[in-house]
């Protein structure tokens, strides 16, 4: 078992009549790049703020490493948690230059600031004020500043959403590299699925104030625990099936399951293959062409619709009949 960097147990938090978190559990492993992914308003920012110490939970406990930082009758103030923070708006101190921003923290080891400025590639810009920097540079200053006091964990609240799309993927990679280089555990909050899947070592999906599933991105995508998680993480279509004797039977084939009785199959478009066949059970409804791939919608004989993500080559037309093959599906109870 790797050492835990953050452990949250049973956290609840209300703001007046609104419940932001309820029964929130989270385990972040030392050294991981861990992401909390959830739709708008699910409470992810609140969770981050409670871990940072900006807000207090109504109940439950938070540990950073092995230290209890929030619990019944105990609250460690943010300045004594050694938890770094990178805000969406970067929150650079506007009246301080780059060097003063990065060296702002208490207890920085000598040489650390130079090393970090070097690491984030801002050497030579020490005397610039924040408003004289580009968005990407501001982002890196914020990161260097958070890393300077060598925190046990860095929290990042939607750090890429203020950058324009062209810049975003580059900055994303840079940030990940810097964090790996610094060897710091990172907990990152986003509502962008692609960002979450591509960056994280571990991913926690959050809905309505609680974590619904935590796993490696691949496992989450391929083995979601609920239809909701499946749809939230990517494109998913659902087809009725009947399970018996360890197998779920449907018009699209047989898939292993431990369920019995009526159930449904979750099928992702990239696991669907189409072959032109005038006797086939499916009929092409429409096609969206993207260049490197295409998304073809099909109506099945049973009335269900299914999407297939295919390479650009097969040239299907609306109304054409097709044979359908599915090589992977997840079985959920109905």
């Amino acid at each position: 078992m790797p050492d835990p960097a953050i452990t949250c147990r049973g956290i609840a938090k209300r703001f007046g009549p609104i419940s932001a978190l309820s029964d929130f559990d989270l385990d972040v492993n030392e050294g991981d790049f861990h992401t909390i992914l959830g739709p708008s308003g699910c409470g992810k920012t609140t969770a981050l703020r409670i871990i940072a110490g900006f807000d207090q939970p109504d109940s439950g406990t938070v540990r950073v490493g092995s230290q209890l930082v929030a619990g019944p009758s105990l609250v460690v103030p943010p300045e004594r948690r050694r938890v770094g923070m990178v805000f969406q708006d970067f929150a650079l101190f506007p009246h301080l230059d780059v060097e003063a921003n990065v060296s702002y923290a208490r207890n920085i080891r000598p040489g650390q600031v130079t090393k970090l400025l070097d690491l984030v590639g801002l050497s030579g810009l020490e005397r610039r004020l924040p408003h004289q920097l580009s968005g990407g540079q501001q982002q890196r200053v914020a990161l260097a500043r958070a890393l300077a006091p060598e925190p046990r964990v860095v929290l990042l609240d939607e750090p890429f959403s203020n950058l324009d799309a062209a810049l975003r993927s580059r900055v994303r990679d840079e940030v990940k590299e810097i964090l790996i280089e610094a060897g710091t555990t990172a907990l990152f909050v986003t509502h962008d699925q692609e960002e979450a899947l591509s960056l994280s070592d571990r991913l926690s999906v959050m809905a309505e104030g609680m974590i619904v599933q935590s796993d490696r991105p691949v496992d989450l995508y391929r083995q979601p625990k609920s239809p909701w998680v499946a749809s939230f993480l990517g494109e998913a279509d659902f087809v009725r099936a009947h399970a018996d004797g360890g197998m779920a039977e449907s018009s699209l084939g047989r898939f292993p399951t431990s369920l019995r009785g009526a159930c449904q199959l979750m099928i992702r478009p990239e696991n669907v293959y189409l072959v032109a066949d005038s006797e086939g059970p499916g009929q092409v409804i429409s096609r969206q062409f993207f260049g490197h791939d295409q998304l073809v919608s099909i109506a099945m004989a049973g009335g269900e619709t299914l999407r297939a993500r295919l390479g650009p080559a097969p040239d299907f037309e609306a109304g054409e009949r097709v044979a359908v093959k599915v090589d992977e599906a997840v079985v959920f109870p109905l």
């Binding site: 209300r14 703001f15 007046g16 609104i18 932001a20 959830g38 739709p39 708008s40 308003g41 699910c42 409470g43 992810k44 920012t45 609140t46 703020r49 940072a52 110490g53 900006f54 807000d55 103030p77 943010p78 300045e79 004594r80 948690r81 050694r82 938890v83 770094g84 923070m85 805000f87 969406q88 708006d89 929150a91 101190f93 506007p94 009246h95 702002y104 923290a105 208490r106 207890n107 500043r145 958070a146 300077a148 006091p149 925190p151 609240d157 939607e158 959403s161 203020n162 509502h191």
Partner: protein, 532 residues
Amino acid sequence: MSTAVADRAVLSGPGRRPPLGLVAVATLTVVPLVFPFGFLLWQSMAGGWQAVLPPGRLAELALNTLLLTAIVVVGAVVIGFATAWLTTRTALPGGRVWSTVVALPLVIPSYVLALVLLAGTGRQGILSGVIVAMGGSHIPIPRGLPGAVLALVVSTFPYVHLSLVPALRRVDPALDELARALGAGRLKRLRTVLMAQVGPALRSSALLVGLYTLADFGAVSLLGYDTFTRAIFLQYAGRIDRRPATLLAAALVLMALAVIGLERSTRPPRGERRGRVVRPPTPHQLSSSQRLAAVTFLALLVTISVGVPVAVLGAWWVRGTAAGRETVAVWSEMGRSIWVSIGAALLVAAIAIPIAVLVIRYRSRLGTILEATAWTVSALPHLTVGLATLLVGVTFALPLYQTLPLLFVAYVTMFLPQALGPTEAALREVSPNLEEVSRSLGQSPFETFRRITMPLIGKGVLIGAGLVFLTTMKELPATLLLRPTEFETLAVRIWSTTSEGFYTRAAFASLVLIMISAVPMHFLVSRDLRNA
């Protein structure tokens, strides 16, 4: 991004508790400002008031005060609306400069205007001299109502001007065009379209002028118009029994509270005032004769309200010096005025900070109550602030009677909102994320305040302090009642020499006062108009 916004909206609502120390400090600074008024009202209740003060006398004072207030409000609103309209909605030569110049009378306190009237008219008056030289007869001294009206209209119309200029600039031309397209006539458009948009600012500034007039002490007392403030001071100064003065002051406080309440209730909700105009209104094209008339009006107004007063004061000074009279011995008064004002500015600015933090950072209900309280007591007549503070001092803290600390309590009472406004505005501009990041970097709340918050709100605090400095320099009635014996400021000196008829000395002191307050006033007024 929407997530963060939604979460923030939840977070900044009620539920985040401010630290106890902050609450305690803010509360402890505001309570002493309200207590004196409570005590004043309570004291006035004790014992039958009819025995102390005949109801007929009370009615007479109320009538005089209301008459003056009504006339001044009408005069100031008419002139202020005219200047605001001319400087914002027409293309005048000189453009926006007029807008600033018209506000200049703000540097002349009402008691100095009273001095100008007294020193300019009558047999020895400078203006009389000019008229006589041109073959006329001397101007009679406008004592009583006419003089008070003149002095107060001149000193209040700039307030109307300053509050209407932004309102007029925000008027959306699209609405007027729409009304015209629908066939509304000029008068109907003026009534429905313009008034709907400017009406709230107009009403609120009219009530502020009313409040100012109710509260004025300097002009009415020097010109001998019998209002509440004059009667209160005469009762206070002339008698050992303080009850008549207390009673009159209580009545005046209640009247002022009524006007304040009326002003609050007619004030437009905050969101409405923030309307954004897509394009500026097209200025009205004036014919050349209209333009000439407009410029003449503005020039004449500025001449009467600023030029003539300064000229009269200057002439008295020159004449007195020529006659070998001692005229310039006001340096020690000036020094006192300046350091007392700096002291008040620093004190008030410092006290405003915790309250601003409570209101802006924690959206604390207590903070809002403290803030509203500070605004209310500051709007009460300064003479009653002085009297109430004095009453409390004499009753509960006799050693403080006639000492500077008691005077500073009164200054805080009167001027706290002036520092509160800019401080809150500055704090609103500082993202709470900055403070949180600082905490997460290991800095204590105090270090965070010292290194992040304070440097970022410094300018706002300074502007607030500047405003307090300015108004403390001019403050008369409370200083008059609370100052230590022999402690004469410029304002007190001007008032006492004027009431004794030593116009030459008063004139020079007034010129110095105008000069000192002109500098920060210019800065602040041009900022106000720019921000509009």
